[in-house]
């Protein structure tokens, strides 16, 4: 009865059928999605009945100094499987990603948190205020160069 975890390859093939330009590759656990295509991929992942990823577990950003990874964990409650897709952003300034707020409202606070602590801006999010820290705080504390 345990939840099945999709391998990266499986997910990337499923995505590639519909959105060929969105998939950049895959690894053991996750499919890599082009940053500009995250919105389209999200809608597809949620609405396609054979995928049915209607539950967004979490969004995470990881700072690898040269680039940032943003990780999305998804679950389908109906089909009982879960999957991971990631996207990679190069550079350190003016990073932005399309928001998935309209697809999964659960992304609301998590995207704000990533903006606040990591400095990745989500376009299309209605309320990109700082969430944890106060206005006027300098820098984004979870970055590796923040002291």
């Amino acid at each position: 009865m345990a939840v099945r975890e999709w391998a990266g390859q499986e997910l990337s093939e499923a995505l590639r059928r519909e959105l060929p330009e969105a998939v950049e590759g895959f690894d053991e656990t996750a499919a890599w999605v082009n940053p500009s295509q995250v919105g389209a991929a999200a809608i597809f992942l949620r609405d396609e009945p054979s995928l049915d990823f209607r539950f967004l577990n979490s969004i995470t950003a990881i700072d690898y100094v040269e680039y940032f990874d943003v990780v999305y964990h998804l679950t389908s409650l109906k089909q009982q499987w879960c999957a991971v897709f990631k996207t990679r952003l190069y550079g350190r300034q003016d990073l932005s990603l399309p928001s998935v707020y309209q697809v999964w409202k659960g992304a609301d606070y998590q995207e704000r948190e990533i903006w606040d602590l990591m400095g990745v801006y989500f376009e299309g999010h209605p309320n990109m205020k700082r969430i944890m820290l106060w206005e006027g705080f300098e820098g984004h504390p979870l970055r590796k160069d923040f002291l």
């Binding site: 009865m1 209607r54 409650l77 109906k78 009982q80």
Partner: protein, 407 residues
């Protein structure tokens, strides 16, 4: 020079007053001794109310503690009896803040206006035979009139504090006070009708059978209404701590806060005394010539215990639900009670218009039945008409997991 009080004076019945009056009257002019005796009585009454308030705060804290399976204040003095004293001392020496935007004269007037009606109400309560300060023949009416002053005081507090929470609390409180006045008055009408008098002394004497047996419905409505008027649970929206901080007295501190607290707990005491007088037979009981005051205290204590017990048990209602309870539940009940009592009095009273003990017994039996039926009928009527239908189960229900569902 000796003064005599006319027998038709409302103050004549009070033995203590006459004693002081006579004593002082031997050396001073009559008008002055009249005033001095009055002042002595006021001194006694104010202290009685404040002492009562202190004892009730102590009792409430101890009893709540025990209801909640803990001890309550027990450090200072025997059984923690000095706790109210400590509270008072502390509050007296505390800084007396007035908020910046406050309407200062109104703000300062509130605590006095809160305590004054209580003291005024005690003037007509007979603590024992012939001990009420003023044996007014319209005692019930007087009490109802005076008790309404509190609502003005509360509104003044909310208005002058310049604080939103205080305003919220005051608005709620006044709404509650006004709507609960109606069923309370109607429930007292039944009492007045059976006793055929508005004087508290005569009502006590009429209670050969205590009125809470003769008119349980009226007693129920009176208690519910009074706990609303006193902002006691389950109707304590005015100072709903979890919602609006401390309600109308959010901004008060120091002495003023002490007075407001005293008024609150003193109010419980005075209302309990009134309830004991009107429904439990006041000072009457075995050896009431000597132990009337003791009977009175025991009965008052019982009512206070009831108030504390309710407070320990119930959550509070929402403001609109409180209004609904008043208008849709208590008001019909008090009307039913009034109608039943009117009919019974009309049918049962003898040619001289007097009800015998037997008549009261018959009324008690009938009214107990009426009470149960009425509460059951109206209780079911105010139940929310909307039956909460179970919703459609969602399509994301996972198969193969045993679930239990709420009914």
């Amino acid at each position: 020079m000796s003064c005599q009080l006319a027998a038709d004076n409302v103050l004549y019945a009070n033995g203590l007053y006459r004693l002081v009056y006579d004593l002082v009257g031997t050396i001073l002019p009559c008008w002055l001794s009249y005033v001095i005796a009055g002042l002595v009585m006021i001194f006694v009454l104010v202290n009685a109310v404040l002492l009562g308030a202190a004892v009730i705060t102590w009792a409430e804290r101890r009893l709540l503690g025990r209801f909640q399976n803990r001890v309550g204040p027990n450090r200072w003095g025997p059984f923690g009896l000095f706790q109210p004293l400590a509270d008072l001392l502390k509050l007296l020496t505390k800084e007396d803040l007035t908020p910046d935007g406050a309407d200062k004269p109104v703000f300062a007037l509130v605590p006095i206006l809160m305590v004054a009606p209580l003291v005024m109400m005690t003037a007509v309560i007979p603590f024992a035979e012939n001990t009420s300060l003023a044996a007014l023949n319209v005692g019930v009416l007087y009490i109802l009139a005076v008790s309404s002053i509190t609502s003005i005081a509360i509104f003044m507090a909310g208005w002058s504090s310049n604080n939103r929470y205080a305003m919220f609390g005051a608005a709620r409180s006044v709404a509650v006070l006004i709507s609960y006045e109606v069923p309370v008055v109607l429930s007292l009408l039944g009492v007045v009708m059976v006793a055929a008098s508005m004087s508290l002394g005569s009502i006590v004497e009429a209670q050969v059978l205590p009125f809470f047996l003769v008119q349980p419905l009226a007693f129920f409505v009176f208690m519910a209404g009074m706990s609303a008027e006193l902002n006691r649970s389950p109707f304590d929206v005015a100072e709903a701590e979890s919602e609006i901080i401390a309600g109308y007295h959010t901004e008060y501190s120091g002495v003023k806060f002490a007075l407001i607290q005293a008024a609150e707990f003193g109010g419980v005491g005075v209302v309990s005394a009134i309830a004991a007088t009107l429904f439990l037979g006041g000072w009457s009981g075995p050896w009431s010539e000597y132990l009337g005051w003791l009977w009175f205290l025991i009965k008052t204590g019982a009512i206070v215990f009831l108030f504390i017990w309710f407070r320990a048990t119930y959550p509070r209602l929402r403001i609109d639900q409180i209004m609904a309870v008043s208008w849709k539940f208590l008001l019909p009940l008090s009307l039913v009670n009034l109608a039943a009592v009117t009919l019974e009095v009309f049918l049962l009273r003898g040619p001289e218009g007097v009800l015998t003990t037997g008549d009261l017994g018959i009324m008690a039996v009938i009214n107990v039945v009426v009470t149960v039926v009425a509460i059951w009928v109206f209780g079911n009527l105010i139940r929310d008409r909307v039956k909460f239908q179970a919703r459609q189960p969602s399509d994301v229900v996972v198969p193969g997991v045993t679930t239990i569902e709420v009914h």
